[in-house]
Structures are given as C-alpha cells and as structure tokens.
Symmetry: C2
Subunit: 139 residues, 2 copies
C-alpha cells in the first residue's frame, strides 16, 4: 500500500467524508437491513442521496412497517472488481422514517429513480437519516 | 412481462431453486446482516456457496462475535443493470456458526477465495446454513 491513509482494524483503507458523499451520489442501488420477524433481513433498493439522507421507494411490506415504526436501519453500497480483486464499501446506520411531506415526495418522484418496486405497488417513500457513515476500500 | 412465472406481492418474478443455486455459485461477493450493538448492520463479504452453505472469512470483530453466538444472519446477493434498469436479488436467512472442523477449513482455504479481509487479520471462517432462500427478478 503506497498511501499513508488510515486503516481500520481489518487493515482496510478508510474513505474520507468527501469520497463517501461522492460514491453515495453516484451509485444506483444499495441494500437496507432491518429487523423482520425478529431476524436481520437485507433487501436491495434503488435509492437517491438527497440532503444527506438515503431515500427510496417501498411497497407494502416489511420495509414499510419498519420505517413506520421509525426503526434504526442499516444501509450499504459497495463495488467489487473481480479481475483486480479490489473493492470498496460504505456502511450507514440511521433512523428510518416514512416521508409524509407532499413537497418532498413530489421532489423525490421528479428524480425519476429507477424502480425495484413496480410503480403500481409503491406505498411510500422512506428516508434514512444517517448517524454513522463508514467507508472502506480494499486495495 | 411475457412469461407466466409467479410474481410476489411487489410484482417481481420469483426465481426458482435451480436459478438461485446457479447465481449463488457464480457471484463473487455478498452482504451479511447481523445485529451489532442492538442495530441491524450490513457488511460485504467475499464468499463461496459450498454444500448449500454460505461460507466466508472474517477478522476479529462484530461478524465473528455474532457467528460465535450462533445468531441468525441475513445474506444477500444482487445485480443491477443501470442501462436496462433490470436486476435480480437473492435473500437468505439462516443460522451462522464458526467453522471449527480443520478438514473443512483446509477445504475452504484451498478455494483461494479473494479476500475482503487481509489475510493476516483473518480470525476464522463463518458458515451460514440457509433456512430460507428467496430470489426475485425485476424485468
């Protein structure tokens, strides 16, 4: 490793806030983790990073219920290059909430986010307000 | 949608067991979800799908501790084509365990799995035994 960037206890390079913000803005999909039936569950989402919040659509189901309860969710994005065997990841923790503000909802709809949930099944928008953002790179 | 394949409540195509097995065997990285400090947390892992189990290396830390407690973990793989706006995901739930069998460990080491954790920080191998495998495709 040529850089003198800080590493964590696993020996991975720590990404700074600017790089995390850039990657969060440029990545099309992420995954949310939440408790469902008492067990940690992961689901993929197409998301946007808006005003330092993670926003995504959800249909009726476990994600919506967890957000309605304002639970803490995990969120993650990553990339992996199989040829180079290098990658990075950003891991977020933050409280989820259902977006009720019609102005914000209109703003999110206008972004034209691709849909992992089919439009006719969409029940609402969830926003995760990050309290912790942790980026790592394996080189 | 031209197929008559089953869809779930979100309108996504359900992947069959053979397709799930094929994708689990062909994908280099996944993510595990587990409870850390009382909150659902996601971390990326390079993994292998061996004898219907998810196996990955881990260093000292939260993943190792959760596995040592034999907790139920979530596991997820996905792929997303930004141009086509299509994707698939497989979501797994199962109990984690630390692998103690030296023969199995030697077998896993011999696979030459790329390392998200640096080799000198590796503390053990974790195996998730899936009790539920759920695959979805958005077309």
């Amino acid at each position: 490793m040529e850089t003198s960037e800080p590493t964590d206890h696993r020996g991975l390079q720590v990404l700074g806030p600017d790089e995390c913000n850039q990657l969060l803005s440029a990545t099309p999909i992420g995954r949310v983790a939440f408790m469902h039936a008492g067990q940690p569950t992961i689901l993929p989402v197409t998301y946007a990073y808006v005003n330092h919040g993670i926003v995504f659509r959800t249909g009726v189901g476990a994600k919506l219920e967890a957000a309605a309860r304002r639970e803490v969710m995990g969120f993650e994005i990553d990339d992996w290059d199989p040829a180079e065997q290098t990658g990075w990841s950003i891991v977020i923790s933050g409280r989820a909430d259902l977006v009720a503000d019609e102005v914000l909802i209109a703003e999110y709809e206008a972004m034209g986010l691709p849909e992992w949930v089919q439009r006719d099944r969409v029940a609402g928008w969830v926003r995760i307000a990050p309290t912790q953002i942790s980026g790592r790179r394996l080189t």
